[in-house]
Symmetry: D2
Subunit: 135 residues, 4 copies
Amino acid sequence: MAESMLEYGRRMLSAQAFSVMVGAKLDAWSEGLAELSLELRPEHLQQHGIVHGGVIAYLADNALAFAGGSRLGDVVTLEFKINFIKPARGELLVARARVVSAGKSQAVCHCEVFAEEGADVTLCAAAQGTIWKAG
Amino acid sequence: MAESMLEYGRRMLSAQAFSVMVGAKLDAWSEGLAELSLELRPEHLQQHGIVHGGVIAYLADNALAFAGGSRLGDVVTLEFKINFIKPARGELLVARARVVSAGKSQAVCHCEVFAEEGADVTLCAAAQGTIWKAG
Amino acid sequence: MAESMLEYGRRMLSAQAFSVMVGAKLDAWSEGLAELSLELRPEHLQQHGIVHGGVIAYLADNALAFAGGSRLGDVVTLEFKINFIKPARGELLVARARVVSAGKSQAVCHCEVFAEEGADVTLCAAAQGTIWKAG
Amino acid sequence: MAESMLEYGRRMLSAQAFSVMVGAKLDAWSEGLAELSLELRPEHLQQHGIVHGGVIAYLADNALAFAGGSRLGDVVTLEFKINFIKPARGELLVARARVVSAGKSQAVCHCEVFAEEGADVTLCAAAQGTIWKAG
């Protein structure tokens, strides 16, 4: 049976040793969209007990690349910028990215990162990045 | 005996559980400058055997915050942007950040991230960010 | 009769000498949203006959600030980033900005810039910026 | 007699109608470096009597492109980010850009924008951008 796009994406993610260490999961991946999540553990935090900005940046970076990759195939992140909006705490970190525009070699993507704490969902960061077709 | 600025910085870094998991070290910290490094291990890589962009973004983010914090005290990263320039591979990843401008509440900082592979040193990424005085 | 929000915004824009020289108009301004436009003239172009990136960046910057200002009052643009996606040509340049998140002192905003050439509408640029309450 | 690099750059700038309207001059252009300036006039200001952010962004954008173009030839600005640091006022606005890294098709560049008011020189903005070889 053919491997689905989501299965293929999960296989790629599981080949990223860093993503395995951090604990990221690919929840959804389709044309122009990607959603990654992370069950928050103590090792994701910084000295004030909130999620380290580097974790949020990592998840946004990866979600941007998956979103862009859904349109371009094998890709690299050329650059991205991220705004940290609210402290992230709780059980789950979710990054949702979408393609704003895709051409032959370049996709410009947006990503929003949310923290879920019980029933509360907080927008923690917003990112914009440039994803480039590899090779 | 009084704790030096560098000792204080290392204590802060060691209180960041994520930084401990990733393995970052604070090599230098002085007025307007910060240098963080990372001995590269297999778990820092992505599927093509190079350092994951999220690791580079994490190290740049932290170096930017230390640089800004050297002028402002306790800080948060408001936002940053990072350009990935060359693939990072080798034994060591080094992020050097400096304050471009600091006011009462805001510091704008630059950071360059280098990978060291034997005698080769490669500029892998350049970042610019806004660090804000906390509280 | 009381001045409407849009009238007030147009008065502010007309007090910006640079905006008057460039020819920007405020088409819409409401809670969390702003739309600025520019009737394209030969002096907006660069050497290849398309709209100069500086014109697009100007319009995005202003739209981001109006969007943020709709939530925060008097504001300054702390920083922004812009991706140039497609060349801009035609009769009209339109920048639509919206607030992604607003707190007491900070708003993170997105902006898309479109060029209209006859019946064609092209997404030319996407921007993300940080707007700060003045004073 | 052969045209010098600086003369060629000035000819390119004078072919940008928008740059002519704004009044930008190319003061220096060499391998990896570019300096543009602007004699400040009332039409460069916004409603509070300081230089409009769009003017600063325009000058930075152009300086980044000239710097990158000094290494890559004919270029486009793929994206840039700019931090506004201090209000700009005075007689002259100067943007100095340099190439941080250049490959075959991409240059990452930094730019600092200064305002000169009498003997005072103020750093008003810092930018980082990606310049791409055209064609």
